[in-house]
Amino acid sequence: MKLIAAMSGGVDSAVAASRAVEAGHQVVGVHLALASNPQKYRSGARGCCTIEDSHDARRAADVIGIPFYIWDMAEEFHAGVVENFLSEYSAGRTPNPCLRCNEKIKFAAVLDRAKAMGFDGVVTGHYANMRALDGERTLHRAIDMSKDQSYVLAVLTREQLQGAYFPLGDTEKVDIRKEAEAKGLAVANKPDSHDICFVPSGDNAGWLRERLGSEEGPIVDQDGNIIGQHKGAYTYTIGQRKGLGLTVPATDGNPRFVLKIEPKSNTVVVGPREDLAVTRIVGEKPVWCGPNPGSDWQTGYVQVRAHGAALDCKYREIEDGIEIELEKPLLGLATGQAAVIYDGDRVVGSSTICETE
């Protein structure tokens, strides 16, 4: 096959590209330039597509022996990921930009361009497995559960998945580093990237305040009593306990947690831990890459955070969405996150959480 390898300049995508070559594919390396004003250097685990990263990707492609190009996707990235991130936060939700990037950039803009240019698909260094089932390629968790990224890939449609190749899913991360070392890839020991790539300082709250303003507003308890002030409601996360700066102590002396963010009234609601408990989740914009459940309850697992646990649940399709009932209550769940349904290790579908109870 002819494949485009998306190469970030990190160890995973480098090994993925080299494995695709070893599997006999014709591979072309592409580094996506996603920032309109790339920084020169990467600082630790943060930042992306710096000039240093594109250099690392180029050197990896040289060692692997494949052609290498840079694709400027800054505009698409800004429109599809950064603006969505801002609008979600200003609506009081907590988005996952990595998931949006897979949905809108890597397996949309890049895959579409690759196909139009005569390629069969896109290879990435994501930790996930694709298996063949009844002539269809299905998405599964990686062997290395600590690195599993099936959650951020679950948003891909069946069609998108047909053009997606993840050669690393059968290997532990530590062995990927060893493999990179053995292959002479200089990025073998490069630190993993965490955090949000387009917030190079790592200060998400500060970054949001700069762009969305920092209009002060009240922090209230469940009875509506004002017990503190905040500087921008969207810089808080459901379940957050630290950094609230409350001026009135709780009557019971117990710590208080963010329960709710109300962007319209610019209010943050706090309360006791037990009120964070969620047992019912409603999601919108479902994507089914596995069997569509229909309106009857199915049993399975749901994961609601990038590296969260798989929770026992029942789920079924409702109009324009999905309804999930958890077996055991979950503490603190932000809307805007994805609820990903698994059947064992297979991804069934994904949906954006819009309501919790």
Partner: protein, 373 residues
């Protein structure tokens, strides 16, 4: 067989230059040394200097060797500014499609040295707007430290009316970046204050350039040290590269290259709908700059590369990220048109078979690239 159509980026070293380079590399001695070895190196180097001077109508003493065309441009722009700044002149005038090696030092002077930068607009024929310059000089001539206009543009190949610029400039120092023009069209130092040359664009080695600077017109140095070149440029003289540079200055098959270029332009017009030729009539023999609306340059380049044809998107950037070319925008192209641009640059070695192959491949490439937008 791979086809190389990126001669404007760099062109293969010529046989005669390579032979000279190898010969000089094997010689012992620093050209600044006083013993016999040094003198022999110096003799070869001075012969090279005389040959280069002769080639562009300047005195040998006016040739200052540098490490690159970029270095020569920096020396000229900053040096002329600093010299004239002492006389109270702070306005730097450049054309709006100068190479980054001129644009960036000029912008640096604005940021760090209090210069005022004025860019001469480009006409739709791809040349500097002489009426604008005339008007500017008549109104603010006494404030202008220097005028810099390139001999020919590196992206579209348009030849610039340097003689007219000189007439308008009068006593104002004029610098001209002739990196793309040298050898391909006649280049003369006559009337100029400063002129930039580079070896690797004409079949010499990479790593050597020259600033031609009027006798007696001394400017501050950027590199301080042994003062080898008129106290304006320090560093051990790179005799092998300089001798090879001089050796590369031979005749250029202008007619043959022009004929191939015309064949390529006609072929593109006939086979690809909506292709916009950006190279004007009065241009260098080897450059074809063409926009294909509805495409991205980086996609076109990748597809051409996969077919074994090397070309360029117009202007490369250090990070490899392609922005719409400021040259094409100056010409009046929209951003969408400018982003879908290829520069095919022919050289002395280009053949009719190369052009035929490009014309076979390009229509399909453009079609795919339009789908991939």
């Amino acid at each position: 067989m791979a086809i190389y159509l990126d001669h404007a980026a760099t062109t293969p070293i010529s046989e005669i230059a390579l032979a000279e380079f190898n010969k000089q590399l094997q010689q012992i001695g620093n050209p600044s040394s006083l013993h016999n070895f040094g003198r022999e190196q110096r003799r070869a180097l001075e012969e090279a200097r005389e040959k280069i001077a002769n080639f562009i109508n300047c005195a040998p003493g006016e040739v200052i060797f540098t490490g690159s065309g970029t270095e020569a441009d920096n020396l000229a722009i900053k040096g002329l500014f600093w010299k004239e700044q002492k006389n109270g002149k702070k306005v730097v005038v450049i054309s709006s499609f100068e190479h980054k090696a001129v644009l960036e030092p000029a912008e640096w002077l604005v940021e760090k040295e209090g210069a005022e930068l004025i860019q001469i607009p480009i006409t739709s024929e791809g040349i500097v707007n002489l009426d604008f310059l005339k008007d500017l000089v008549s109104k603010r001539g006494h404030e202008i430290a220097l005028i810099s206009v390139m001999h020919s543009n590196n992206e579209i190949g348009a030849l610039q009316p340097i003689d007219e610029v000189l007439k308008i400039a009068g006593n104002i120092p004029v610098h001209c970046d002739a990196v793309q023009s040298l050898v391909k069209v006649p280049v003369s130092f006559k009337g100029l204050t400063a002129l930039t040359l580079s070896a690797h664009k004409v079949g010499g080695p990479v790593g050597v350039g020259a600033l031609i600077l009027k006798r007696g017109f001394d400017i501050p140095a950027l590199l301080h040290g042994g003062g080898q070149e008129r106290e304006i440029r320090s560093g051990t003289l790179n005799a092998p590269a300089i001798c090879a540079f001089a050796a590369a200055l031979t005749t250029y098959p202008t007619d043959a290259v022009s004929a191939l270029r015309d064949q390529l332009i006609t072929g593109i017009k006939n086979s690809i709908p909506n292709a916009l030729i950006n190279t004007p009539k009065n241009a260098l023999p080897g450059i074809v700059n063409v926009s294909f609306p509805g495409t991205k340059g980086e996609t076109l380049l990748l597809l051409m590369d996969m077919e074994g044809i090397a070309c360029s998107t117009g202007s490369a950037c250090s990070a490899g990220v392609h922005r719409p070319s400021h040259v094409l925008i100056a010409l009046g192209r929209t951003e969408d048109e400018a982003i879908g641009t290829l520069r095919l640059s022919l050289g002395a070695q280009s053949t009719e078979a190369d052009i035929k192959r490009v014309l076979e491949v390009l229509p399909g490439v453009v079609e795919k690239a339009r789908l991939a937008k």
